[in-house]
Amino acid sequence: MRISVLRNGAVLATLVLALSMTCVAAQQGPSPAAKAEARPPPEASPSDIDGPTLFASVCGFCHQDGGRTEGKGPKLAGTKRSDAFIIARIRNGKPGAMPAFGGAFSEGQIVAILAYIRSLEDDAN
């Protein structure tokens, strides 16, 4: 199911808070590289925080069928990775495989992408 998430500011604020708490609670803290990226980029305007559109602009180049299937990058639908892991991976990338978007996307945009990934139905289930 394709849904456009986080168009509502209140929902966004709640989700950001919830994910922030999740990140703090998780044992997987940000890597040294992520700490170096501590300065957040300018926050995107609400209209920019559209997970599906961001995904189709950038992420879908590797994560095919909108993240629903394996391609250049792994399938994301139904991923068992934690929110903290996914956020850290989007921020820091993986050398030689995935760019680091921490300097390019705002925290709101990263959370919107995470929410989009979580919204994907996994055909395998």
Binding site: P41, T53, D65, T69, P95, G96, P99, A104
Partner: protein, 574 residues
């Protein structure tokens, strides 16, 4: 004095030995003009200005190739995304580049390292790049080796020492996120290099740089590079149009024209449907994207062009770098493959279309291309939403950037074709420019098998002008490396599973093979050192096209390392 005499004799012996083992001589630009007849060297990315990927050397031939064996190997450091470059060779020295624009000069006979160069790059920027940190080749001229970098620089190194001669910053990569991965092209005293672009929202320039001083001479924007071109972009879309010229082109000395292929516009996919002239993200023909352009190498002025795909809505750009100069029946022709799977044949004087023939079997982005005019017939312009049937070819193209080969002996053009399609859902996007540029794709997609069978590749031996086919070899997966034809009636094809094949160039019969243990997405060359012929090919897997293979074919690609590589050099058994 005896001691002095002995000393001088010793020095002479040492000097002679040095000349025999490392006879690096300066490559004068005029030497490049006859590179196609030179069996000893491999002086440009495409072998010569004629782009034949052919060596006249015939010491290794169809009769003795069964005796070919590995003579030596070289293992470069930090082969992130494998090795994607085509080596060069001059006067018995082999030069090649690896990831992070590292350059190696090796004794061509023994593999002994003469020098290495590792530029200090903006590693933080590289961590944010998608099309990075591979490098696809070098140029030789003016006693220098030239290499581009993913952080936007053109560097010249002294051929003999590897010491930097100049380091010119050309692209604001921190802001634009892209730089250079393609090989430069040396023409007279100018070094020409094209930037990345395509789905990156910018204007993709091609640069001319003074080969001795490093001073920028000119810059040609492949997006809206002239007033005429700017008028083909609706609104402000030219500011983020993509373009670029990320593979080295060719040079026609008779007309003093550089031929270059340009990349696609951004976003890759357009939701305007049939109304693309007036609506959508980039209304209009979008000149000079997905075009071949003729530039004056001295000034960068546009002499002529042909846009192979007006308003390319499928990412089937013209950035494939090979331009074969073919003379036929008094006509001087230029043959150029387009990523969509068609081969264009042009008049070399003005880029007027003389013929267009179809290499790839599974094509539905157009119904055809008029062979007399080059006009697209029955183009398939997508609208927002899921397409009813898969788009063919897939985003990776009917042909990729790896070059084919042409043998003047057989008169055949050998070219690899890719058969695959993709399910696609077009999605409206807006360019992301702040704080730094990001990809602008405009679709979700998934690669699938074509209608006529499994996803696969094939090598065709065809007439380059008419497209008449003589033979074809099928591969389970498309080979992604540039190939080599030789005067020994041989055709060398490094494949994706890691095997290098040698075929009889007349018949396609396989005569020899060797498994290098990792896939190839670089280029293979021939050269001579000490009077002996060598075949050299980098192995090392990991291009953005090869990244598709694990999902399509499973093993060995699921397990194939993407961060390693080696240069393999072959010679006949003693």
């Amino acid at each position: 004095m005896a001691l002095r005499g002995k000393y001088l004799t010793g020095c002479a012996v040492l000097a002679l030995a040095a000349m025999m083992t490392a006879p690096a001589l300066a490559v004068d630009p005029s030497r490049l003009l006859t590179a196609d007849q030179n069996a000893n060297d491999w002086l440009t990315n495409h072998g010569s200005y004629k782009s034949y990927h052919y060596s006249p050397a015939d010491q290794i031939n169809a009769g003795n190739v069964k005796n070919l064996e590995v003579a030596w190997t070289h293992f470069p450091e930090r082969s992130t995304r494998g090795i994607q470059s085509t080596p060069l060779a001059a006067d018995g020295v082999l030069y090649y580049s690896g990831s992070y624009s590292r350059v190696y000069a090796l004794d061509g006979a023994t593999g002994k390292v003469l020098w290495t160069y590792a530029p200090e790059l903006d590693e933080e920027l590289i961590s944010k790049q998608t099309h990075s940190p591979y490098n696809r080749g070098l140029a030789l001229a003016n006693g220098n080796v030239y290499v581009g970098t993913v952080d936007g620089r053109l560097i010249a190194l002294d051929m003999k020492t590897g010491k930097p001669v100049f380091d010119t910053h050309l692209v604001d990569s921190k802001k634009l996120t892209v730089g250079f991965t393609g090989a430069p092209l040396a023409v007279k005293d100018t070094v020409i290099i094209g930037s990345q672009g395509g789905e990156w929202p910018w204007r993709g320039p091609i640069f001319g740089v003074d080969g001795k001083t490093g001073q920028k001479k000119w810059e040609f924007f492949t997006v809206a590079g002239t007033d005429e071109a700017k008028a083909t972009w609706g609104g402000e879309s030219w500011r983020t149009g993509g373009g670029g010229g990320w593979m080295a082109g060719a040079y026609d000395p008779e007309t003093n024209t550089v031929w270059w292929g340009t990349a696609n516009p951004a976003p890759l996919y357009d939701w305007a449907g049939a109304d693309w002239q007036k609506s959508g993200p980039r209304p209009g023909a979008n000149l000079y994207t997905s075009s071949v352009i003729g530039l004056d190498p001295d000034t960068g002025k546009l002499k002529f062009y042909h846009q192979e795909l007006p308003h390319d809505a499928w990412d089937f750009d013209s950035a494939v770098g090979e331009f074969l100069s073919i003379d036929r029946g008094g006509q001087k022709l230029m043959v150029h493959p387009n990523k969509g799977g068609f081969i264009f044949v042009y008049d070399r004087a003005n880029a007027k279309v003389q013929n267009v023939w179809q290499l790839v079997k599974n094509v539905n982005f157009v119904k055809g291309i008029d062979p007399k005019t080059g006009e697209l017939i029955g183009r398939r312009d997508l609208s927002a939403g899921k397409a009813d049937t898969p788009l063919c070819p897939a985003i990776a193209g009917g042909v990729s950037w790896n070059s084919g080969a042409y043998s003047p002996k057989t008169g055949l053009y050998y070219k690899i074709a890719q058969e695959w399609c993709m399910d696609i859902t077009v999605i409206r996007t807006t360019p992301i420019l702040e704080p730094m540029a990001q990809l602008n794709i405009g679709a979700d997609f998934k690669l699938v098998a074509p209608p006529d069978g499994p996803a696969r590749g094939h090598l065709d031996a065809r007439d380059p002008v008419t497209g008449n086919k003589k033979w074809e070899i099928n591969y389970k997966e498309p080979p992604l490396a540039s190939i080599l034809a030789t005067g020994g009636n041989l055709l060398f094809v490094p494949d994706s599973e890691g095997v290098v094949h040698a075929y009889n160039a007349e018949t396609g019969q396989e005569l020899w093979s060797h498994n290098n243990g990792m896939g190839h997405n670089a280029g293979i060359i021939s050269y001579m050192a000490g009077g002996k012929q060598y075949i050299a090919v980098p192995a090392g897997w990991g291009s953005l096209v090869s990244d598709e293979f694990a999902a399509l074919w499973g093993e060995p690609f699921k397990s194939m390392a993407k961060n390693t590589g080696a240069l393999f050099v072959y010679a006949l058994k003693q």
